[in-house]
C-alpha cells in the first residue's frame, strides 16, 4: 500500500543541510498496524506528515496505492488524501467554535457529499462511538478522552483506508489511553491500516510492526 524509497528531508541551517530524515526505505502493506517510535527529534512526526501528504520530502519516491505521490500535482494529491487518509492528533485539534456533530461532519463537507447522506454518515459514526448525548456540545465541554474520541470519529468519517495518528494518547490518562488503543485495534481488525507515532512501548505493542527511528534513520524494524 505504501512504499517509500530513499526518502530524505532536510532544512538549510546556516547554509548547511540538517537532515531530519535520511534515506528512509519503507514498505507498509494494507491492513498493517505500524507504530513509529524514537526519541524526541528523531523525525517521527515529519515522517508521519510525509506519509499523510501534509509535507513533501526533499528527495526520494513515495508510492501510495501504486500512485507516485512525489510526482503528482497538488490537486490530485489532495484528491487521494481526501479519499483515503484520516488524521488523529495528540492535541485533538477540534474546532472550538463548532459542535461535536459539526466537527465530525467537516471532512464530508469538503468532499461534496450531499446533506442527507452526510447526516446519515455522521449519525452512524456518533452512534458507533456512543456519543449521541454529546453531539451538541462544544469541544471545551468534553474531557480529553472524549475529545480524542471525537477526533478519531472525525478522522474515520470519510471511511479512509489509512489512519495516521500522532501520539494519540499523549494528552490522556492511562485508562483513556487504553480505551483509545483498544479502539485502534478494533479498527485495524476491520481493515483500516494504521500508522501511529508513540513514545509508549505499551501502546506500540498494540501494533503488528514497530519502526524505530534515530536521528532520521530507521534503526530497526520488528
Amino acid at each position: 500500500m505504501i512504499e517509500l524509497k530513499h526518502i530524505s528531508k532536510w532544512y538549510q541551517v546556516g547554509g548547511k543541510p540538517t537532515f531530519i530524515l535520511k534515506d528512509i526505505n519503507l514498505t507498509i502493506k494494507e491492513g498493517e498496524f505500524v507504530s513509529i517510535m524514537g526519541p524526541s527529534g528523531s523525525g517521527k512526526s515529519t515522517l508521519l506528515h510525509i506519509l499523510g501528504m501534509l509535507d513533501d520530502a526533499n528527495e526520494g519516491e513515495y508510492h501510495f496505492m501504486d500512485q507516485p505521490v512525489h510526482s503528482l500535482k497538488e490537486k490530485q494529491r489532495s484528491q487521494i488524501y481526501k479519499q483515503h487518509v484520516g488524521f488523529v492528533f495528540q492535541a485533538y485539534h477540534l474546532i472550538d467554535e463548532l459542535t461535536v456533530y459539526e466537527n465530525i461532519e467537516t471532512p464530508l463537507i469538503y468532499q461534496n457529499i450531499k446533506t442527507n447522506e452526510r447526516k446519515a454518515m455522521v449519525a452512524d459514526m456518533i452512534d458507533r462511538f456512543n456519543i449521541v448525548g454529546k453531539k451538541d456540545l462544544f469541544p471545551t465541554q468534553l474531557s480529553g478522552g472524549q475529545q480524542q474520541l471525537v477526533g478519531i470519529a472525525r478522522a474515520l468519517i470519510a471511511k479512509p483506508k489509512l489512519l495516521l495518528a500522532d501520539e494519540p494518547t499523549g494528552n490522556l490518562n492511562s485508562k483513556q489511553g487504553e480505551e483509545i488503543m483498544d479502539l485502534f485495534k478494533q479498527l485495524n481488525k476491520e481493515g483500516v491500516t494504521i500508522i501511529q507515532v508513540t513514545h509508549s512501548e505499551k501502546n506500540a505493542g498494540y501494533g503488528s510492526h514497530i519502526i524505530n527511528l534515530l536521528d532520521g534513520r530507521i534503526e530497526k524494524t520488528n
Binding site: H49, L54, F87, I95, T106, Q111, A158
Partner: protein, 827 residues
C-alpha cells in the same frame, strides 16, 4: 531635639523603623513610577514596531480621517463666515422684495430704486443705506481698456456700513461726488502701476466721461457677497445717467442694504414698511396692480439662508459636508477601536505576567490608554503635515481660497489636538478595561477564549463603517447622474457652435453684424439682448388672457431680432417667428413661450395668436408661440417668457460658425470689431460653455463628494483589511485543521470572506434607505431631476461588496495557501 532622642533610640525602635521604611518606600515608589513609564513607552513603541502593519493601518487611517475632517472644517467655517467680518454686521440688513401681480408673485433682485433714499424721511431706525448694483463698467486709460465685470454703483454710505478699509482717500467722502471712483489695490495697480492713483483720471463708459479716483481700498476678502474691484459713486447715476432714479418706485433692480441704529428691532421696522410704501407710492401701486412687500434679511444670513437667487451658498451642502466630516472621523475612530480591541487578546499573556508580577488593574489600564494616545499623537502630527501639503489642492477643488494656512489659526490646531487626545482616550478605554480584567492564571494556562469577547461590538462597528461608505457611494452616483442628466437633457435649443460677442449696445451694431455675416466661415448671425443662461429683463406687462381681459404680470423679456429663433433652433408651437416681411414686427409684435400661454389660461397655443399686449410703452399682437426652452439652468422651472424686437436693446451678437477652423473665424471677427468699435475691449464666449457654467457649483459639489466618499471607503477598507488579517491570524489553527480535513484553498477563502461579506450586506440594507431619503431631499432643489433608479443601489451595493471582497480575499488567500503543518505544530 535630636540629641534628646538619640539616647532613647533603643526604646523607640518601631518608630524609627517605620520612618525609614516609609522613606524607603517613597523613594522606591518614585523609582518604580519612572521605571514603569519607561517600561510602558518601551513596550508601546516595540508593540508599534512589531505589529507594523496594524500600526500603519491605525495611524494612517486616523491621519487620513483627521485630515479630511480638518479640511472640511475649514471649508464649513469659510462658508459660514460670509460677511461676518463687518463689525456692524449684526445691524446690517439686506432689503428684498416680493412683488405681487395679479398673475403671480415675482422676486426681483432688490426693492425699487426709490426705497433707499426715502427711508430716512419716515423711519428713524435706519441709520444709513446703500444701494449696490453690479455692472460691467467699461474703463479706459489711454490704450488700457477693460470691461470691469466686478464693478458696482454704490451710495456714499457704503464704507460707513461695510468694513472695507481704504488705504488711501477718505471713506466718508469718497463716494459723494458724481464720477468718483474707488478702486481695489489690484485694480489700481492694473491701471496705474507704481504711480499714485489718488486724484488721477480714468475714462468711464463708451463716451469716455472722465472720473476721478477718490480712494484705494484693500482687496476685498473672498468671503463677501459684495466682492468688487471698482466702485462708482451712485450720484454719477442719479445726477447724470438716470436723473430720476431716486424717485423710481416702479423700477426694481440692484440691492439695497440698510444699517439700523443700535438697539432697533428689525421685526418692528419691517411692520412699518407697508405704511411707508403706501404713503409714497400707494396710488400708483393700486393703479398698476403691482403690490410690493419689503422684507429684511440679516446680512449674516444672506449667503446661506436667503431664499433669493443671488444667494450663492447652499446651506444643505454645508450640512452635508459637516456630516461627511463627522462620518469620516467616526470611521477612522472605529478602525482604531476595532483593531485595538481585536488585538487585545494577543496582549493577554503580557497582562498575565504583569499581574503575577504585582501590577494592579489601574496601572495596566493606564498603560493601554497611554499606548493608544501615543498612536493618536503620532496621527495628530502627521495630520498637520498632510493638511499643509493638501491645502492648496483642496482650495482648487473647492473652487475658492478657503484658507491660506493651517497654522494661521492657532485655536484650530489646539482644537485638533484636543480631538486627537479624546480619540486616543476613547479608543484606549475599552481595550484597557477588557485587558486589565483578565485573570492571570487563566491567561497563563492558555485557557483564554480568544476573539469572542467584543466581537459583537466589532461587528456592529464594521457594519456602521460600511453603511456610511455605501451611503456615500450611493450619494456620489446620484450626484453624478443628476449632473449627467442636466447636461444631456434636451434644452429646447441648440447651443453648439455658437459664439456670443459682447457689443455692449454700441450704435454700430448693425454695421458690425453685416461685416461678420460676410466672413465665409460664419453660417448665421443674430442680435439680441439676452442669450440662454444669461440675464434678461423682467417687464411690467399686460396681455390679453383667455377671458379677454388684459392680465397684468411681471414677465421675463428677451429682446431678439429676426434670426434669433432660427439660429438657436427654437421650435414654434404655433404662429410664426419674427419676419422681415412684416413691417409691424419691429415694434408691435410679441412671441410667447408655452409657459406664458398656460399662465394666461389658453388651452392651446393657437388660441393666443392675434391677442393684444402692452409692455413698456409698446403695444400690438401676439404673432407666435415658441415651445418652452430652458433659458435658465435645470435647477429652475421654465417661467413665462416674452420676446420682442427693439434695436437699441441689442447688446449681444450670436454667431453660428463653421466647426472647422473656429480660431481663424474668431480672429477675423476680432479684426472687424477693432475697426468698427475701437473703444471697447473684444470679448466673446462659446454658448455651450457659457450655459454649462451654471452647473459649476454642482460640479464642484460632485467632485468634493466623490473625493470624500473615496476617502471614507479607503479608511473603511483599511479597517477591514486589519480586521480580516487579524481574524485570519486568530483562526490559523482552525484553518490548519480544516486543510488537514481536506479543505481546498477556495473553501478557506470562502469561509473567511463569508463572515465579513455578511456584515457588508447588512450594512447595505441600512445604507440604502437612508441614502435614498437624503438624496431625494437633495434632488428636490432641482426643478428637473433624474429618477433614483434601483440600478444606483445595485451598482453601489455591488461596488461595496467587490471592494470588501478584494480587501478580505487578499488576507484569506494568504492564510489559505499556508502550510497547515506549521499552524498545527505551534501547539
Amino acid at each position: 531635639m535630636g540629641a534628646e532622642y538619640y539616647p532613647a533610640a533603643s526604646r523607640l525602635p518601631s518608630h524609627v523603623c517605620r520612618l525609614t521604611f516609609a522613606v524607603c518606600r517613597f523613594t522606591f515608589h518614585d523609582n518604580k513610577t519612572q521605571h514603569m513609564l519607561k517600561n510602558y513607552f518601551k513596550i508601546a513603541f516595540r508593540n508599534l514596531w512589531r505589529h507594523r502593519v496594524f500600526s500603519f493601518i491605525n495611524i494612517m487611517g486616523l491621519t487620513v480621517g483627521m485630515t479630511a475632517c480638518l479640511l472640511i472644517f475649514l471649508y464649513v467655517r469659510f462658508e459660514l463666515s460670509y460677511d461676518n467680518f463687518h463689525p456692524k454686521a449684526d445691524r446690517i440688513y439686506r432689503m428684498v422684495t416680493d412683488l405681487k401681480t395679479p398673475s403671480e408673485t415675482v422676486h426681483p433682485s432688490g426693492p425699487a430704486w426709490a426705497v433707499g433714499p426715502h427711508l430716512q424721511f419716515d423711519l428713524p431706525e435706519v441709520e444709513a443705506f446703500t444701494r449696490v448694483n453690479f455692472d460691467n463698467l467699461l474703463i479706459r486709460k489711454g490704450e488700457i481698456k477693460f470691461n470691469e465685470s466686478n464693478s458696482i454703483w454704490a451710495d456714499s454710505a457704503f464704507f460707513n456700513i461695510f468694513n472695507f478699509p481704504l488705504l488711501k482717500g477718505d471713506a466718508r467722502t469718497a463716494l459723494i461726488e458724481p464720477f468718483s471712483l474707488v478702486l481695489s489695490e489690484s485694480a489700481a495697480k492694473k491701471y496705474f502701476g507704481k504711480q499714485d492713483p489718488l486724484g488721477q483720471t480714468l475714462l468711464v463708459n463708451a463716451e469716455g466721461k472722465p472720473a476721478i479716483v477718490t480712494g484705494i481700498m484693500k482687496d476685498m476678502p473672498e468671503n463677501t457677497l459684495i466682492k468688487c474691484d471698482v466702485i462708482l459713486s451712485m450720484s454719477t447715476i442719479s445726477q447724470y445717467y438716470w436723473k430720476g432714479i431716486n424717485d423710481q418706485w416702479g423700477s426694481y433692480g440692484g440691492l439695497t442694504y440698510v444699517l439700523l441704529k443700535p438697539g432697533s428691532n428689525a421685526q418692528v421696522l419691517q411692520k412699518k414698511f407697508p405704511a411707508f410704501l403706501d404713503k409714497w407710492n400707494g396710488t400708483e401701486m393700486r393703479k398698476i396692480q403691482m403690490f410690493p412687500t419689503l422684507l429684511l434679511e440679516p446680512l449674516k444670513d444672506v449667503y446661506l439662508r436667503s431664499t433669493r437667487d443671488e444667494s450663492k451658498g447652499n446651506l444643505k451642502n454645508v450640512y452635508i459636508f459637516s456630516i461627511i466630516a463627522l462620518f469620516i472621523l467616526a470611521i477612522a475612530c472605529i478602525n482604531f477601536i476595532n483593531l485595538t480591541t481585536a488585538r487585545a487578546s494577543e496582549r493577554a499573556k503580557e497582562v498575565g505576567i504583569r499581574k503575577v508580577a504585582g501590577a494592579v488593574r489601574t496601572q495596566l489600564a493606564r498603560q493601554f490608554i497611554g499606548e493608544s494616545m501615543v498612536i493618536s499623537m503620532i496621527a495628530f502630527l502627521l495630520t498637520l503635515g498632510l493638511s499643509c501639503l493638501l491645502l492648496s489642492s483642496f482650495n482648487q477643488l473647492a473652487g475658492k481660497t478657503i484658507s491660506t494656512g493651517i497654522f494661521t489659526n492657532i485655536w484650530l490646531v489646539v482644537l485638533l489636538l484636543g480631538i486627537a487626545l479624546i480619540i486616543g482616550m476613547l479608543a484606549g478605554i475599552y481595550p484597557a478595561f477588557v485587558l486589565s480584567s483578565f485573570k492571570p492564571i487563566m491567561v497563563l494556562k492558555g485557557r483564554f477564549a480568544t476573539g469572542a469577547k467584543g466581537s459583537f461590538l466589532r461587528k456592529s462597528l464594521v457594519i456602521t463603517q460600511f453603511a456610511i461608505s455605501t451611503a456615500l457611494i450611493i450619494g456620489t452616483i446620484i450626484v453624478y447622474s443628476q449632473m449627467q442628466y442636466m447636461r444631456s437633457q434636451d434644452l429646447g435649443f441648440r447651443k453648439d457652435q455658437v459664439l456670443v460677442i459682447d457689443i455692449n449696445e454700441s450704435d454700430k451694431r448693425e454695421t458690425f453684424q453685416q461685416l461678420v455675416a460676410h466672413i465665409p466661415t460664419v453660417k448665421a448671425t443674430t442680435l439680441s439682448g439676452s442669450v440662454p443662461g444669461g440675464g434678461h429683463q423682467g417687464a411690467y406687462s399686460e396681455v390679453e388672457n383667455g377671458k379677454g381681459d388684459m392680465q397684468i404680470a411681471n414677465l421675463d423679456l428677451y429682446f431678439v431680432d429676426f434670426d434669433y429663433i432660427s439660429l438657436y433652433d427654437i421650435k414654434m408651437a404655433a404662429g410664426r417667428p419674427f419676419d422681415r416681411a412684416y413691417k409691424t414686427d419691429s415694434n408691435n409684435a410679441m412671441i410667447l413661450n408655452e409657459a406664458a400661454v398656460k399662465m394666461l389660461g389658453y388651452s392651446s397655443p393657437e388660441q393666443a395668436i392675434g391677442k393684444r399686449f402692452k409692455q413698456w410703452q409698446h403695444e400690438g399682437q401676439i404673432i407666435g408661440v415658441i415651445k418652452d426652452f430652458h433659458y435658465h439652468s435645470l435647477q429652475s422651472p421654465i417661467a413665462p417668457l416674452t420676446m420682442r424686437m427693439q434695436w437699441d436693446r441689442f447688446g449681444l451678437l450670436s454667431v453660428k460658425v463653421n466647426p472647422s477652423n473656429v480660431q481663424s473665424t474668431i480672429t477675423a471677427i476680432e479684426k472687424q470689431f477693432r475697426t468698427v468699435i475701437p473703444n471697447r475691449p473684444f470679448s466673446y464666449y462659446f454658448m455651450d460653455e457659457f450655459f454649462d457654467r451654471q452647473y459649476r457649483s454642482e460640479e464642484r459639489f460632485g467632485r468634493l463628494f466623490l473625493n470624500f466618499a473615496a476617502l471614507a471607503i479607503f479608511i473603511s477598507c483599511l479597517g477591514l483589511l486589519g480586521l480580516a488579517s487579524y481574524s485570519t491570524m486568530q483562526r490559523t489553527r482552525e484553518i490548519g485543521i480544516r486543510k488537514v480535513m481536506g479543505a481546498s484553498v477556495s473553501n478557506i477563502i470562502n469561509l473567511l470572506s463569508k463572515e465579513f461579506l455578511k456584515l457588508v450586506i447588512i450594512s447595505f440594507f441600512i445604507a440604502a434607505p437612508v441614502a435614498w431619503y437624503f438624496m431625494h431631499q437633495w434632488l428636490l432643489d432641482f426643478a428637473y431631476r433624474t429618477n433614483i433608479s434601483w440600478l444606483v443601489f445595485a451598482a453601489a451595493g455591488t461596488l461595496a461588496v467587490l471592494i470588501a471582497l478584494l480587501t478580505i480575499s487578499l488576507q484569506a488567500f494568504k492564510a489559505a495557501v499556508a502550510n497547515p503543518v506549521k499552524a498545527l505544530r505551534t501547539e
